[in-house]
């Protein structure tokens, strides 16, 4: 991974080129950041038809506001921030609930069994855990899903996630604790539903 000073220097060069009218530089920015943008959009927006439009909308905003970027964060983080808020705005406009009803409904009941309770089960469960986790992630609310993805899959720091979602680090940490707990409960719930 590139060091932060190098990353910032590269960002400066690219931004300067785009502001001077170099569209190839903007294309480079899109290619370098579309992974992060896709992660946020796919986690926040359920409708596949809206996702592509959303991504284009994000990059048009980035292009229009690039002159205002002051390098207080990495360019990718700033683009992530625009993506997250564009998605939030879209969800609010469509009146889609951001927090699901009844997280607590999934509290494991005393009769619930837990994966990995014995060695043989461990072997079996590891093979299907990937699908269990994917299903459980789909059931999480968009914000929890995004936070978990940014931290555990994109390996961003609390500070970078805080800049993207515009929340203090402490709040990000507490949201992540809650998100992991809910994810674990979803996994347990799906697992117990499957084993009947």
């Amino acid at each position: 991974m590139e060091s932060r000073p190098n990353q910032l220097a590269n960002d400066r060069i690219l931004v300067r080129k785009v502001l001077a009218g170099d569209q190839r530089a903007f294309s480079q920015i899109i290619k370098a950041t579309e992974g992060l943008v896709a992660q946020i959009i796919f986690k926040m927006i359920a409708n596949p038809d809206d996702r592509k439009d959303m991504a284009q909308d994000v990059y048009l905003k980035v292009y229009q506001q690039l002159g205002r970027f002051r390098f207080q964060a990495k360019l990718s983080t700033w683009i992530g921030q625009i993506t997250y808020h564009t998605c939030l705005h879209h969800l609010e406009r469509k009146k889609i609930a951001l927090v699901p009803i009844g997280d607590s409904d999934l509290e494991p009941s005393p009769g619930f069994s837990t994966p990995f309770e014995n060695e043989i089960e461990s072997q079996l469960i590891r093979e299907e855990l990937s699908q269990l986790v994917a299903d459980a992630m789909d059931q999480l609310n968009p914000i929890y899903r995004t936070l978990i993805t940014l931290y555990h899959q994109e390996e961003l720091s609390y500070s970078e996630i805080g800049q993207i979602v515009q929340l203090p680090e402490g709040t990000v940490k507490s949201y992540l604790f809650r998100a992991r707990k809910v994810l674990k409960e979803h996994v347990l719930w799906i697992y117990n539903t499957k084993i009947g």
């Binding site: 896709a38 959009i41 048009l60 506001q65 837990t114 990995f116 347990l188």
Partner: protein, 157 residues
């Protein structure tokens, strides 16, 4: 007393938050939990579940757009770009014409300029300066407001 405290630490199960700290933020201050985790099967199981679930999250397939996003976006920003260039050209041409016109006037009237202000009364000079500077100020304000309006439209569009 300390021993009792230690025993209580070892027999009390870790909370969900403590388990997460233990699994995801290895570091200082976790020693009391480490002792408990070494012996408690229940907490070990919960920690394994957390660790395995989040490892799977890290290994999930990353989403990609199945279109060439860069070329689609670039094709949409071309018209906007040319519009900005066009306005810059207009500003440039206007400034150039104004400067050229001033130079021509100065060239034609340079022999009379030296005597122009000495012939005018003080009142007339003040009036000319006041009118000229007022016009200039209004022009600058109007240009600035127009520029701000354009920037606002660009940001909101």
């Amino acid at each position: 007393m300390d021993l009792q405290h230690e025993n209580r630490m070892n027999t009390t199960h870790l909370t969900d938050q403590q388990l997460q700290l233990f699994v995801f933020q290895q570091g200082h201050g976790l020693e009391p939990w480490t002792t408990h985790m070494a012996t408690c099967k229940d907490c070990q199981l919960k920690a394994t579940l957390y660790r395995s679930v989040l490892e799977e999250v890290a290994n999930l397939e990353k989403p990609v757009f199945n279109v060439d996003l860069a070329s689609q976006v670039i094709s949409q920003i071309e018209p906007a770009k040319s519009r900005i260039d066009f306005s810059r050209v207009i500003v440039g041409v206007t400034l150039f014409s104004m400067l050229s016109w001033l130079c021509i006037i100065f060239h034609w009237t340079s022999h009379e300029l030296a005597t122009l202000f000495t012939r005018l009364s003080a009142m007339a000079t003040y009036l000319i300066l006041l009118t000229g500077s007022s016009l200039l100020i209004f022009l600058v304000i109007s240009l600035y407001q127009e520029f701000q309006g354009k920037m606002k439209r660009l940001t909101l569009s």
